[in-house]
């Protein structure tokens, strides 16, 4: 067990409780898709796990230690976070960007050394994007940026990779490519927790589903056991159909005719 979320609840200052009593654990090689309608706190839950937001009640244990008591540097050695999108104010080349993933292992007054650049190169190779190394971050496409961000997360040598809507802002091909990458990462032993607006992505990824509904209720379980037509229709408040397509051998979630 790498991460253990125990009975956490969250409320923004002066606002009613967003969600409460959420518990689940994250293990090696596991994929967890956080789903639910807009505004239920999917990203907030992910932010709590990334130590970007502090739960009101409950605790999150990182390898058995309360995350509140850990230093940001210690957390960053185990948990990497891939933000939804990045708008850089200054243009750095891709390699300089990816090498910042080594920051948790570099002293405050130090600069990255040859070994750290080697790690960054290796992460780029792992993502099969070595050819981008010298390009400026501002000059590459959205899909490439997402890959570069994941490469930086890999340079952190984490155990868990958290991704906030990794498929948002990407074309259909790149969405599927990113899902494939997530699956491969899980096969290599990384745990991946993602938020997504597309229940079909949760089905494609398999693994676990963590759903928050509009009443703030939390449902957790394997995607196969949790996801069914009634569940999805109730979650999103529209008619959704689940069909098994024999040709591709999986269940597909689609909307009913408008």
């Amino acid at each position: 067990m790498i991460l253990e979320v125990k009975n956490i609840s969250f409320a923004y200052a002066g606002a009613p409780t967003l969600f409460s009593d959420i518990s689940f654990s994250v293990n090696r090689g596991q994929i967890i898709s956080i789903i639910g309608p807009n505004g239920v706190g999917k990203t907030t839950l992910l932010n709590c796990m990334a130590n970007l937001a502090a739960p009101k009640d409950g605790e999150i244990l990182l390898e058995g230690k309360d995350m509140k008591r850990l230093k940001a540097r210690e957390i960053a050695k185990k948990i990497a976070f891939v933000p939804q999108f990045i708008i850089p104010s200054f243009s750095y080349d891709v390699l300089s960007y990816v090498v910042t993933g080594c920051a948790p292992r570099i002293g405050t007054f130090e600069k990255p050394k040859q070994e750290h650049y080697a790690i960054a190169q290796q992460s780029l190779e792992q993502m099969k994007i070595s050819h981008l190394a010298q390009k400026y971050y501002t000059q590459i496409s959205g899909g490439e940026r997402q890959q570069v961000s994941i490469a930086r997360a890999l340079a952190q040598r984490p155990k868990v990779i958290l991704m906030d809507e990794p498929t948002a802002h990407l074309d259909y091909g790149n969405q599927i490519k990113v899902l494939k990458i997530i699956k491969e990462l899980a096969a290599e032993g990384y745990a991946a927790v993602i938020t997504t607006h597309n229940p079909d992505h949760a089905l494609l990824l398999g693994g676990e589903v963590a759903a928050i509904n509009s009443n703030g209720q939390f449902i957790f379980g394997s995607s196969r056991s949790v996801i069914n037509e009634d569940f999805l229709s109730a979650l999103y408040g529209v008619d959704l159909c689940l069909h098994h397509i024999p040709g591709i051998g999986r269940d597909v979630c689609v909307a009913a005719s408008l």
Partner: protein, 339 residues
Amino acid sequence: MNKGAYLRTVFILFLLLCCSALAAVCIGRLSVNPLDVYQVISSKFAAEPVIDETLEALDTVLFKIRIPRTLAAMMVGAMLSLSGAVYQGVFKNPLVSPDILGVSSGASVGAASAILLGLGMIERQSFAFLGGILAVVLATAIPKLLKIYSNLILVLSGIIVGGFLSSLLAIMKFVAEEQTELSAIVFWQMGSFAPIDMKEVVAISPVFLIGTILLMGLSWRINILSFGEVEAKTLGINVRQLMGIIIACASFLTASAVSICGTIGWIGLVIPHLARLLVGSDHTKMMPVTVISGALFMLIIDTIARALLTVEIPLSILTGIIGAPCYAWLLYKQRANVF
């Protein structure tokens, strides 16, 4: 940009700086031959000083006036440019200048109070320094009082403090005696190295050295801060602590610079852009280049200011007249990929 090209750029800039420093020492109402400069300086270190009347006069000009002034101009240029570069980095905004947190307004109020109280030069400088630091303390206290920690709130606090202090300054100018006090305040605000001697140089060098070394050490972390708070935090950085150190260093640099020579506009905004154009946005490379180019630019401006006309031209006039078109040119040059 590869390492060789970067080192070459640094070397060329450094060479230019050395040549300009020598030229600045030679140029002036009493122009000096570079060879004589060498003689004067070497006779200082000789076991038995050669006594020569013309050299003795030169000695006074060089050591009492020109060398301190040259050193001060270089340090002030470097300090203002470096804090501009650092603020632009951590606030993720290439339009930010060193007075973003109200340092200059605070220093102006400090200097103006010393002038109105009829105090001397040392008090004026100390008041300016304290005023500048106090303004930053106020600007950083507002987010703490509001319990909202974000760079945007910090920048807005800087604007609030700056605006308030500008009005205070306006009141002081309004009540000031026109011929003496008001003109002293106005001249102080336009910036000048005329009253500088070795004592000011000695006073600001520790701040210059410590601030510059600390910030250079943090240059790679500044890259990470420039991605924004979320990314910096998830990369394991204690954002508030690091921001605190960086703001303290940059504020001390700016306040010390402003305290000895008055407010000087443009340089802290333009030089970081020049550095980015030369070596790219990576702070580990652009910060050293910023320091050297800032020193070079300020030195050239100050030399023009004192040698062009028979009267001294206030520095802000020249930094604006030269800096603003330079800035436009830089924006034109870097439109492709720097932002």
